[in-house]
Amino acid sequence: MALSALAPDYMYRGFFEIFGKIAEETNAIYAATILPQPLAVAIAENAVNCVIVEGGHGNIQVAPISFALIREGLVALNRGGAEANAITRELLKDMGYGDVAREEYAVEVVKRAVGLVPRNLKESIKAARENPDKFVAKVRLSPITEIEIPREYAWTRFLIGEIVFNPRHEEFKSYIDQSRIKIEDAVVGDVTLYGEMDLASAIISSLRSVSLEVQERVASNVILSGGAFKWDVPPGLEEYAVNSVEKIRIMLGEANRELAARAGVKMVKDPQYSVWRGSVIYGYALPLSLKWDNINKEGWYIYK
């Protein structure tokens, strides 16, 4: 089983207890193990030195790995796909689609269909305001319901993607000030999840905790995984919109040109299943003789 790298100890205990009950009732479980999700992604990608940036619905984990998860370098952000949904919902309300905005499914569909990650937020918005016809879009939610992004709101498509990567922009301020979207720090156990930290800063901060000896090797392989990084570039908008890999490259370049030149950024082959694949390989390779250790969080919890 794979848990978030931020999962507190009680969560591990809770799952082992649940497995214990199932083992007792069904006699079908011999042993169980839990590994951190970023490690599962690294295993699936066969990467022993890397930085895994796992973007989920509720949070983003930046985890450096060098033959094992480097827990000191773990940086967590308190935002993810959910914030992209939240801004999409507010934009739909502003456009007059308040009824549609009530349905989470509809908001998710609209986000996926019209959300764009800007190459540069200011310049992309400027282009969309100057030539809105190029950026208007329609989304058919059902045979009788169609959403049309009006010309005057065409530029807001870029806010949907940008909020995942960097919410520190003037354009988001009014939504935050009016409490229409909430981006703030959170504390889980002894880990602080940063609300507004941009992704390039998170990666750099994570790398600072890695020993200098392996820092370059780790930085050379930045791997993005998870649904929060699944963004498409519609044909014809390549000048203004980018995918997640390109966005991270640009952001790293703006923050530290030297690091950006050495960093290799890539997206996992199948973002939805890489954690599963890594978990299966981990379970296959981890020797059964290695008993669960609460400190290292490694090994098999034996039930029989």
């Binding site: 295993i43 296959y284 390779a285």
Partner: protein, 203 residues
């Protein structure tokens, strides 16, 4: 607008009992018994008089017995009923907020006058000429087809025979697929994973 169109189709098919034949570009083609009925849907947020009359005049190019235009209530004040009457085109208003009750016929359509049959039965003459031309063309086409088939058959037979002789004279070739190593199986791919080696050492 989709709801207005949906209500209109329900009204025409369920209340009036028309049969929907096809729908394209905002034009519904229906059948009322043996009559062809055409309904042009003009559902717009903002109506413009000039655009409305252009749409109405475009109805002339369709083949129909009866024609209607369907508009939202906001378009009604811009339409001159006298003009529609003179053309024999009917008018239907659709108010989506009232559901099926919001679909109302404001002006009935007049059946279109069919052109009178000429004294001479031109259709019979044309069909006889067509039949004669078709027969002659068929005869000629068959001749050409047979000749072409024969030429093609002879050419292909010769080409295949030449190729067979050429191949027989060459040494056997090993395909690139045979030369390359077989792709690794999923099990091999897992065994080659660096992490598998690292984890196994923890025993």
């Amino acid at each position: 607008m989709e709801i207005a169109r949906y209500l209109l189709i329900r009204f025409l098919t369920e209340v009036w009992g028309f049969k929907l034949d096809s729908e394209s570009g905002g034009v519904l083609a229906l059948r009322d018994g043996g009559n062809k009925v055409v309904v042009k849907t003009i559902f717009l947020d903002v109506y413009e008089e000039a655009a409305l009359y252009k749409e109405i005049s475009e109805l002339a190019k369709y083949d129909y017995d009866k024609a209607f235009i369907a508009v939202l209530p906001s378009g009604l004040p811009l339409i001159d009923p006298k003009h529609l009457k003179s053309l024999g085109i009917g008018l239907i208003s659709v108010d989506p907020s009232k559901g099926l009750d919001g679909v109302e016929m404001r002006l009935p359509a007049k059946p279109r006058d069919k052109p009178q049959a000429p004294g001479v039965d031109m259709a019979r003459i044309i069909s006889a000429v067509n039949a004669a031309v078709a027969e002659a063309l068929n005869r000629e086409a068959k001749k050409i087809e047979e000749e072409l088939y024969e030429r093609l058959r002879r050419y292909l037979d010769k080409a295949v025979e030449d190729l067979r002789r050429e191949l027989a004279a060459r040494p056997p070739i090993i395909s690139p697929a045979q030369q390359q190593p077989q792709p690794s199986t999923p099990r091999q791919a897992v065994e080659e994973n660096e992490w598998v080696k690292i984890l196994r050492k923890k025993a």
